[in-house]
């Protein structure tokens, strides 16, 4: 099921996220990889689950294999595809493969740089940027590859893209967002945000594009995690108030508190957006609580 169908129906679209394991899926089909187990936990509470593509440039199981496994388990995947590790041949081939294997949603993005990951001496590819990737994907939907050759059996997937509301100057992000929409992006998931005012300012400027936006949120588990993200994860800023608040409770209460804080934040911004993208980083079990705190009706 394409997420665009839900956006078109006016549904508030909820997505989660899992990261493929660092290793292969077991041949014994009764043994599910942890990413599939997490996705199954999310299943009842979200419309779809993003499957990251060698996230943070750390080598893992391919996002396509994991996406297909999720689909086989009845979980709708959003297959993430980045430009970091593939040239235009590989990107197109992977898109055709994904569609052929039943994938309906793909999130097309640049990808973290090799230097942030565990293979620092690898050659960064970046043959295309994310705008060009979306444009190329649109070509495959219309029956042409990037060289202009006809293809048979066009792909028909929903194309998602990303935008970072935390970026300064925001005008540059908006310029790129506009280019992504012109290229064929049909919905956006934002980088994680924690500042209502900042997000509101961003949305005021992004509204004009009239393209569905899901606000992105990474569950803040501990004060240490907040400090770590501020120091090591570019493009995300966790305000001190958040770090203090999650730090104000005992360790055993942090899950409860994290759900409360996340829910409160999402409740404040949900009217501005068409959906929410929650990145639980393993704490999939608190997603239902977050949605309840945010006053978001269960999807089923």
């Amino acid at each position: 099921m394409k997420l665009t169908t839900l956006f078109d129906k006016g549904e508030f679209v909820i997505t989660g996220e899992v990261g493929p394991i660092k290793g292969a899926i077991h041949r014994d089909k009764s043994i599910e990889p942890s990413c599939a187990i997490e996705a199954l936990q999310l299943h009842q509470h979200v419309h779809a689950v993003n499957v990251t593509d060698n996230q943070s440039a750390v080598m893992r199981l391919g996002s396509l294999a994991a996406s297909v496994r999720l689909k086989a388990n009845g979980v709708e995947p959003v297959y993430q595809l980045t430009c970091r590790d593939r040239n235009r041949l590989a990107l197109q081939s992977d898109l055709l493969t994904a569609y052929s294997l039943g994938i309906d949603n793909v999130l097309l993005l640049t990808g973290d740089h090799i230097q942030l990951g565990d293979h620092k001496e690898a050659k960064p590819v970046f043959d295309l940027d994310s705008v060009q990737l979306i444009d190329m994907a649109k070509g495959l939907k219309r029956g042409y590859d990037i060289s202009g050759s006809r293809i048979e059996n066009y792909l028909d997937m929903a194309f998602g893209a990303v935008v970072n509301p935390n970026s300064d100057p925001i005008e540059l992000q908006l310029m790129k967002m506009r280019k992504k929409i012109d290229a064929g992006a049909q919905f956006f998931q934002t980088q994680a945000v924690y500042d209502v005012k900042l997000f509101e300012n961003f949305m005021k400027k992004a509204e004009k594009f009239n393209c569905p936006i899901q606000v992105g949120f990474v569950i803040l588990k501990t004060p240490q995690m907040g400090k770590f993200m501020n120091k090591n994860v570019s493009g995300i800023h966790v305000p001190d108030e958040w770090i203090d608040e999650i730090g104000s409770v005992a360790k055993e209460d942090q899950r409860k508190k994290a759900a409360e804080m996340a829910g409160k934040f999402i409740k404040q911004v949900k009217s501005m957006v068409q959906g929410v993208h929650i990145m639980p980083l393993g704490w999939t079990d608190i997603v239902p609580d977050i949605l309840e705190h945010a006053d978001i009706k269960p999807i089923k």
């Binding site: 973290d112 970046f126 940027d129 705008v131 060009q132 990037i146 540059l172 790129k176 570019s234 493009g235």
Partner: protein, 239 residues
């Protein structure tokens, strides 16, 4: 200019075989400016090799100052005529210059054995006598008309052509917090120039065939022909 840095002496010496006689060649243009292969460094290298027990038959950085080692006819004349005896005695050449200079010595000496004495690190702007910065990646498919002259292929770690990724923080690149985000530099410059509209058009994917090595350039006073796997492009400088 081609920025070069000398290889560590231990690495240079490691590749010279016992009893091998070496002639040291510097470059009086780029390598001179990098203090990696001018007159002084070439002379010094001859001494450093001698101190390590290596027989040096001679040395030169073909002059005058500002003369490039990669000017083949000049280098051939200097090596094969002015230093003919020393060159004849040598088993190999240690070149203190860029990779082009190394190949020039191969051509100038009719296929002599060479040892690179430097790593060629990038093509750069000599910002000051002691500081060189990279502003061009020599891709052969220039788009800086749209970016105020600042090259995203060089200044953006991901070589993005349609704007920044989401990783910049406080104006700096996600790859290196000491390095400015190339796209923010481009944006700030065009904003200052009142030309932000230059960023509006979609930039198509690079023609990487123009970047496929090796490439050649045929030049004349009236036209030039650039030849890559992408084909030949001839442009007049007269019309």
């Amino acid at each position: 200019m081609h920025a070069t840095i000398q290889k560590p002496i231990g690495e240079i010496v490691k590749h010279i075989q016992p009893g091998e006689k070496v002639f040291v060649v510097g470059c009086n243009n780029c390598a001179w400016k990098c203090y990696s292969g001018g007159d002084d460094e070439t002379k010094m290298m001859a001494k450093r090799l001698t101190d390590k027990g290596i027989e040096v038959t001679g040395y030169t950085a073909p002059g005058p100052k500002g003369m490039s080692l990669c000017k083949l006819d000049h280098t051939r004349k200097v090596l094969m005529e002015e230093h003919a005896d020393e060159v004849k005695k040598a088993d190999s050449f240690l070149i203190l210059g860029c990779g082009q200079g190394v190949h020039t010595v191969i051509d100038a000496t009719d296929g002599g054995m060479v040892h690179p004495g430097c790593d060629t690190v990038f093509g750069g702007e000599t910002v000051s006598d002691t500081h060189i910065e990279e502003y061009c990646s020599l891709c052969g498919d220039c788009i800086i008309e749209f970016t105020g002259g600042l090259c995203p292929m060089t200044l953006c770690a991901k070589q993005l052509l349609n704007g920044p990724c989401g990783g910049a923080e406080n104006g700096h690149c996600e790859v290196d917090p000491d390095r400015p985000c190339g796209w923010i530099l481009i944006y700030e410059r065009l904003k200052k120039l009142g030309r932000l509209e230059l960023l509006d058009p979609y930039q198509p994917p690079k023609k990487n065939s123009k970047w496929s090595r090796p490439r050649t350039l045929e030049v004349s006073p009236t036209e030039a022909t650039f030849c890559s796997i992408g084909g030949k492009v001839t442009v007049s400088n007269q019309d």
